[in-house]
Amino acid sequence: MGPLLASRLRALPAVSCRPWGRQALLGEEWRALTAALGTVAAPALLALWADPAHVHALLQERDTTGFLVVSTAVEEGGYPALSPVLPQAAVFERAIADLWGHRAMGGTDARPWLDHGRWPLIGPLSARPAVRRAAAAPGEWRAAAGPHHVLDLGPVHGMVEAAAQFHLAVLGERVRSLELRLGWLHKGTLALLRGKSPRVAARFAARLAGDGTVAHALAFARAAEAASGVTVPARAAALRAVLLELERIGVHLEAVAAIGEAVACMPLPAAVAAPREALAEAAAVAFGHRLLMDTVVPGGVAADLGPAGVEAIAGALAVVRRALPRLRRLADERTALARRLAGVAVLPPALAAAYAASGVVGRASGCRFDARRDLPDPAYAALAAATTPKRGDAHGRLWLRLAEIGDSLALLSALLASLPEGEVAVPPATANGEALGWAEGAGGTVWHWLRLEDGQIAAAFARDPAWLHWPLLEATMKGGLVADLPLALASFGGSCSGVDL
């Protein structure tokens, strides 16, 4: 059923959208696709977004690396919804309604998502945004079944934490259901990208999510390069891989510290602090920014890596390598920490596969896809098969993070030892075109879609991996303990800002 559907879709006439083309479906074809997507082997939905006249979907075939982009024209302000068969489409549909004003006809959830009723414009990305005259209500919460009381947390948590609202239906210490409301960090990124050249817009793409600044900048740059037909030099491609792996180690270390703090396991954050700081300092020496912001630009990388930078990174990697055995010992099977984490926020493999979870969240639950290995990238030719996951619970994810730090250390050593010589950037081309770009960030696969007109961005979308991970977090918290919420949040490590566009 799945491959059949994919090949049938591929046979349809395609619009140019690098690298896979985009199939423009008629209304009834989209409806047929909607019905077929509910089956087990059908392609998984990775993203659903829009432009003023169309709705686009990015699909991934199961167990293969085949990708499909399909779209349908918006008719009378609406399009047939995917959410009745694919629950993960609901948040995308709500975002589309907020940003572009297209209604998902027959959708399961018509409540606003990003727009809490306070934006000055209604549908700011639509062809004709309407002016909002009075603030609207932000929408009701989902009704929870059975006896419960409600615990509303956030968006301000009284500590330095991401702005997210948690609506918990609780019975005693047990969570009956959790619903998240994000959108408190709305930055208008998509509107800011429009009408700018990719070179200028890259700064906004890099500021979408702090835990994936390199990943977002890289995915954006790849989309821009593919759309304008630019090929980056070999040295730039290798340096981008270096940046991506440095970011991965840093984010994983911070996640490990956060997990330790969530269960008051004091030695874990303490053991992480020194290697994290060493990495940041090396990044400042090598690339001029502690958190690697704005280092990846369309056409290549912002600055070349000199011998001093290579030395600084090698020094920081040695610090991380020395700290890793202690971290592994602290997180070992037999420790109290492992027993505490086991069985918390369990993500079943079937659910992870249905949502095409990526990154540590997906890989710990058996989703093997890794964009570094499974999509063409010369810099990652040496990447071996990913570390085998243990279990899809908080301990399995912690263990996988530590394993990925080890993998990244090996990758970085290989990359730095054989950096190709040459240019690090090529000048951008003024072109028309449409393309997808991707990057395997620490949190999962980041996707960017761009349409360039005369070298300016006409339409764009960014899919942070957290789009699909937040609904999964809601699902895994069901039946869990209220006290485990911080642990589940730290274990998933999703970005609020990345979803808030």
Partner: protein, 319 residues
């Protein structure tokens, strides 16, 4: 003059307790951080924070009533009243006839009850969660508490703390063993009352993992200073009581004896330091337990308490 002389040991001890309590809490924080491999706040930081907070004007939840505003003062007052009853190093105080373990437990329970009501009063989600947790932790520890009190009462023929300590001071192994078991039974009671590891992380970063802290979450400025002072004093109280029950040495049992006090007070300080260090080690070595672990810990504590009671009965049967 004789009245003042009778009041002097009690007042001196209370003043010392009030001064030392924040240092003890700060010291435990410092050691905990050191054991975890961090520099940690200096031990006096807890005192400094109290002074800093006391100077600030509080921000109140929108729906807070007079109860919410009065609660911190009541909590601290009840804790101070409890502290006034507890002999730290000098047994004969003016309050000695009142130093009943039941009254002591009652005063601390009063402080908890007021804190619980304040958590409900503010109408904040986290306050309600804290209140429900305070109630939920008070229940499973009660049997262990009563078993331990019964054992101590049987030992001394009454639940007056001074009386119990006097019996323990001169007692044999047959007296000390049940007392040690009773202290062991009181440990989960104390940890639950204090909201410390492994039940909750007093320095927790997320509101859903807190116990008492969840109620204190809605408090700020001088209200918070009062609550934190009460928390530090309660920690000192438990360590003093448990320490003296464990090691009933260095307790002065004479009318005003300044020289003996000079020797006994540092010994009391040593007991506190040992207790605080043990707590810091526990907190640095453990991870926050799941809530259901409290019931298991309390079950064991009840068992120890019952064994202590049986040993007492056995001992008295032989006498």
């Amino acid at each position: 003059v004789s009245t003042i002389a009778g009041l002097l040991p009690g007042l001196l001890q209370l003043a010392l307790m009030l001064a030392v309590a924040p240092v003890l809490a700060g010291g435990a924080d410092w050691l905990r951080a050191r054991l975890a491999g961090r520099a940690g706040p200096p031990p006096l930081q807890y005192w400094r924070d109290l002074v800093r907070l006391a100077r600030k004007d509080p921000v109140l939840p929108a729906n807070a009533s007079w109860l919410f505003r009065a609660a911190p003062a009541v909590v601290l007052a009840a804790t101070i009243a409890a502290a006034a009853l507890v002999p730290a190093f000098a047994l004969p105080t003016a309050a000695a006839p009142l130093a009943d373990l039941l009254l002591l437990v009652g005063l601390l329970a009063l402080a908890r009850a007021v804190l619980l009501l304040a958590g409900l009063d503010a109408g904040t989600a986290i306050g309600g969660l804290g209140a429900s947790r305070l109630a939920a932790t008070a229940l499973p520890v009660a049997p262990a508490l009563f078993a331990a009190l019964l054992a101590l009462g049987l030992l001394a023929g009454g639940t007056n703390l001074v009386g119990v300590l006097r019996v323990l001071r001169g007692g044999s192994v047959m007296v000390r063993l049940p007392a040690l078991l009773a202290v062991a039974a009181l440990l989960p009671v104390a940890l639950a009352a204090l909201g410390r590891a492994p039940l909750a992380d007093p320095a927790g970063r997320h509101e859903t993992g807190l116990l008492q802290g969840a109620v204190a979450f809605a408090y700020s400025a001088r209200h918070l200073a009062l609550l934190r002072a009460a928390a530090a004093l309660e920690l000192l109280l438990w360590l003093t009581v448990l320490g003296n029950l464990c090691l009933p040495f260095g307790l002065v049992d004479a009318r005003p004896a300044p020289l003996a006090w000079l020797l006994a007070a540092p010994l009391w300080g040593l007991k506190l330091a040992a207790g605080g260090a043990a707590l810091a080690v526990l907190e640095a070595r453990t991870v926050t337990a799941r809530p259901e672990r409290l019931a298991a810990g309390c079950g064991l504590a009840v068992l120890l308490g019952v064994v202590a009671v049986l040993l007492c009965c056995l001992g008295q049967g032989q006498v």
